[in-house]
Every structure is written in structure tokens, then in C-alpha cells.
Symmetry: C2
Subunit: 334 residues, 2 copies
């Protein structure tokens, strides 16, 4: 069957404050045609990530989005047609298709993925979320058995994996999440030792109570006031992997920075380290071997929050920024 | 000659805002008598350090000073009498005598130092300042030949050594200092490639002009706005050794933190690392071997600012906090 139409979601307008579904619009265009060395891709699952909001603010590790662009997003996609020697029809790839049914891409930067069951795991525990948790915690955080690890956005796609890996490594694990339900889920379903509800008041004090021996590794996903609260509870020689600043992406204006920096870094000899999972691309195999064995033996539980269809994406991203999901949020497109 | 009197400088009152000489008073008491296992020490040189102001603010890596305490300070001292098997009269030690002519100390934590010529070098390039520069730059900063290293408080005891070691390692070196004279001295006498006068206006912009290829290692001695200006000029994968926050010690109230933390740490994959020279005590020999060879072959110039007498200490510390010295400031006591 010839592919002729391509439905897609466009960023109609750049948000200046809080992102809403009104910033997006759907449109249908002609399906793209792959050039020499390119592949035509069918989007299977679109990953929903807080970073999508950051891309609207300005250049980060990728160039900024502008009004009229197809909304950017990473996807699990299937090769429909290939004009390149390294990929065949029905190969699976992980790439940025954006929020659309079909996309073309140069094949040189793509590699076929194994078909795992379920496929969605390629976007969650075996995808960016799982690898981010793995490298951020183990390479930047270097937790030792018996240490206390705290993680913010603990019920999110990365945080859930961070907490569970920290437990596997013999740490006491404290999650920070929004709402009593999420906190209860962390403890009951994912083995966290304690959880702090940041919506319930003074996070610094609550963290102190939940971490009576202080924090050795604070895995930060959010920035802002919660980040400061984490810093103020660190132990000597503590490590702080910095993964993202979801609290800041949807804010209208630049926030103040944490007062503890750099003074407390010196007196407590703390290390703050920003990282991005792509920096570890050459060590994927090593990480996936561990993650697969932990999932297989049931020590690492995978939680996914799967929406359906292109039209679910705008509200899905807005809701993710408001913290409504538990586990990795994505949308099944085809 | 029997030692009977002990002249000393006491912190009469804790400062709430800017430190003045009025916060100190001199007094004479009976000389202390060493107990079993202790030594009696004669203070030869008192080190003047910005940290002295931090100790008045609250507990850091040492307990806080309180009104009525002998002002704390590290010294080069000579053993006058020993009730311990590991030290002899006339041995030299480096320890916290405080601002006084005589002190006693348990001998177990002390080790005799070699008599180098001049003795003052044991407080500057072969003391805390030199070792702080060495470990902060080389272990936390890890500069590579051809990279750009920027250092704040560049004309201070640590900064001058940081800049010169970075040159030895083949880096382009940019110093940040207060005033055109200091900046000229950095370039003319110490081989810095460029210098930024933070008193002359927009530090962020001036740093950008002085570091056209960005900053790979920013060695921070000051915190506050200059720290933020440094961060905003960092290159990808940059390293930021955090050594102290002299800009904050003498401030009346808590300052805002740098807005770039932690967001910029993620997008630029920066590492901020607080450190204290004592953390490297077990590797002293290694550092001293390098420092001695660089001083001997003239590649590392030593600049000292030596005051005279106990009574010079209060104004000496106040002036140091205002940035009036170039190189390591200390006072010769005996």
C-alpha cells in the first residue's frame, strides 16, 4: 500500500509561560520521500520527555524549536523503505522522527535495534530513561552499599529506575515525588525505603527526617527549590548527578539559583555533575547487559504509561510537566 | 630564658556585617604549659586566609569561632619544649596556634617540617596555598594542554599559583582580579595570557572577550556573581574546582545562588567540585616534589606579602578580605 499522507503535530506557537495544548495544532501533509542514503520511517512509539519543553526555551544540546516546526521528539520507528545499505524494511530504529506518522532520516546515523518483547521497553528501561538512570547513578553518583541515595521526580521514568538500581546496590533509598499516592507507590511497589511528598510542605525538613544519616548521593531531575533542599542535606564528599531541571522548563522567568552553591560545595566537598545519556553511547552494551539481567530476575520493575495516538501527545506532554504520570510516558502511534 | 607571658589577639565580638579591626582586641596572659604528650610552640609566622572570616559565620570544616576566642589561624611554629617522643626543641611544625605568641598542642597530630630557605615558603608555595592550587587545578580541574583555564582571585595566594601551574601544563590562562594594577602584574610578572578586572564592569562579557574559545577549567576562589560569570562562559565538559567563596564571607546576608545551577550543568555537562587541601594530605610528597622542582627552575614564581607582628594581623585580615594583597599574606611574629 502506497503511503501518501502524513499526519503530524506542529508547535503552532512558542510558549512564553506555561505550556498548554493550545500551543499545538494537527495537520496532514504529503508523506515524505526518502532520498539517496535515506530511509522512510513509520513512527511506532513517541517518547514523551520533559526535555521537550526545554527545547522550546532555547538551544540546549540541540537547537531550539521555533513556531511552525513539527514538534520534536524521540521515537521508536520502523523502516518502511530503505535507500541505504545498512538498513532493511522492518528494521527498528530509535531516532528523532518528531510527532508525526512518517519521517525520513539519513541512515548513516541509525542502527537497527533488537526486537524485544514488549517493544515499548526500548523506550523505557532499555531506552534513554533506563540508560540515563544507570549512568547518572552509577558513573556520576558512584553509590556505595550502605549509603543513602535520594532522587527527585522519583516516580518519573528516570527516578523509578534510579531508586531501584540504588536498592540493588545496597543503598537506603529515599524518593521525592508529588502527592501521597505517588509516595505510597514508591514504597509499596518499588521498594523505596522512604518517600517525601514535595507538595506537602518544607522539603528540606522532610528530607532531613527521611534521611537521618544524611544524603550521600542526590540524583537531581528537577532543579530549583527541591535541588537546594537536597544540597542542604548532603553528607561530606557527597555526589550530585544533575540530570535535568524539569521544575524550570515550564517557568516563565529565570529562577534564582541555589544559595548553597558554591559555598557548601567547599565545606562539604560536594561534586555536582551534569551529564547527558548520549555521552555514554559507546558503553551502551555494558549498561544494557545489567539492565536486562535485573529486569529478567525481577529486581527491576518496569512501569510504563502508554497513551494512544498522535492526538494524545500535546496533553500527554502538558500532563507530564505537571507530574501526572508514574513511570515512562509514551504514545503508541502505529 | 623562662617564658612567662603570652601576647595574643582575641576575637572580641562576632561581626554581623563587614569585619573591622574593632572586632579584635589584644591581651596578655600567662604563657601556657605543655601537658604530658604535648609541646610548647612559639609562633613564627601566622598565615592570613580568607577562611578566617568564614570561621566567624558558623561551622565549616572546623567549628565556628565565638566571641572571646583567641582568633584562629594556621601558623608555622617552632617547638620550644616537648613532652612527647616524636618532636624535639627547635623542630618546625605547621598547625593552628591561633593569633598568639605561644600555644600548646598534642604532639600526636604534628610532624616536623624540613627547614627550607626562606621559611616563609612553608606557608606559601609549599604550604596550604600552593598545595590547594596544585590539587584543585590538577586533580579537580584536570587541565589539558591547549585548554583555557580561568581563575578568580588570581592575584591571591592560591590564584597566582593556579595560573602559573596552568601555564606549565600548556594552557591559555586568564586571571580575574580587582584593579588594573593587579591585572597588569598578572600578565607582566606571572605570564598570564589575559586578565579581567572585575571592578571595571560586566565580568561575564569581559571574560567572554578574554576567552574567545570559552573556558575549560574555571578555578573558583570567590563565589557569587563572578562565579556565575565564569559558569556562563564554560565549554562543554568543563570542570569547576570550587575552592572558597571569599565574596560571601564578609557579606551581611545570604546571597542568591548562581542561576546557571543546575540547568547549565546538564546542557554543558559541567562538573563542579568542592575540595579542601586536607583531603589530599596523604599525597603531600607527590605535590611538593613538583612544586619544588618548578620553583627551583624558575617556572613558578613565589610572591609573598609579609606583615610584621601580632598587631598587624587584624588590619591584615580586613585588608585581605578587601583584596589589597598580591600573593600569600602572612605576618612574621618571631
Amino acid at each position: 500500500m502506497a503511503i501518501t499522507a502524513n499526519r503530524r503535530i506542529v508547535l503552532a506557537e512558542l510558549p512564553t509561560g506555561r505550556l498548554t495544548t493550545g500551543h499545538f495544532r494537527a495537520e496532514t501533509t504529503e508523506a515524505p520521500t526518502p532520498g539517496e542514503g535515506e530511509v522512510l520511517l513509520r513512527t511506532l512509539y513517541v517518547s514523551l520527555d520533559a526535555a521537550g519543553r526545554a527545547w522550546m526555551q532555547g538551544p540546549t544540546y540541540r537547537s531550539a524549536l521555533k513556531a511552525g516546526d513539527v514538534m520534536a521528539g524521540m521515537s521508536l520507528a520502523e523502516v518502511v523503505a530503505s535507500n541505504a545499505p545498512n538498513l532493511w524494511a522492518s528494521d527498528l530504529v530509535f531516532t528523532e522522527t518528531g510527532w508525526q506518522e512518517y519521517a525520513t532520516a539519513p541512515a548513516t546515523r541509525l542502527a537497527a535495534l533488537p526486537r524485544v518483547e514488549p517493544l515499548s521497553h526500548l523506550l523505557s528501561v532499555f531506552g534513554i530513561a533506563g540508560l540515563t538512570a544507570y549512568w547518572g547513578l552509577l558513573d556520576c553518583g558512584r553509590p556505595q552499599s550502605g549509603e543513602t541515595v535520594a532522587v527527585s521526580a522519583a516516580a518519573g521514568s528516570v527516578g523509578l529506575v534510579v531508586g531501584q538500581i540504588a536498592k540493588i546496590k545496597g543503598c537506603r533509598v529515599v524518593g521525592i515525588a508529588g502527592g501521597a499516592d505517588k509516595c505510597a507507590t514508591l514504597i509499596r511497589e518499588f521498594g523505596f525505603d522512604a518517600a517525601v511528598d514535595y507538595k506537602a510542605g518544607d522539603v528540606r525538613r522532610a528530607l532531613r527526617a527521611a534521611c537521618p544519616e544524611g544524603i550521600d548521593v542526590y540524583f537531581d531531575n528537577v532543579g530549583g527549590d527541591i535541588f537546594e533542599a537536597g544540597l542542604l542535606n548532603m553528607n561530606m564528599h557527597g555526589r550530585v548527578p544533575c540530570c535535568g531541571v524539569v521544575s524550570q522548563y515550564d517557568a516563565g522567568s529565570e529562577q534564582r539559583g541555589p544559595r548553597a552553591v558554591p559555598g557548601l560545595l567547599v565545606s562539604k566537598r560536594l561534586t555536582l555533575q551534569g551529564f547527558i545519556v548520549m555521552d555514554y553511547d559507546d558503553r551502551r552494551t555494558e549498561a544494557l547487559a545489567d539492565l536486562k539481567s535485573w529486569v529478567a530476575d525481577g529486581r527491576l520493575k518496569v512501569r510504563e504509561d502508554i497513551l494512544h495516538g498522535l492526538d494524545s501527545l500535546p496533553a500527554g506532554l502538558v500532563g507530564l510537566l505537571a507530574g501526572e504520570n508514574i513511570g515512562k510516558r509514551m504514545a503508541k502511534i502505529a
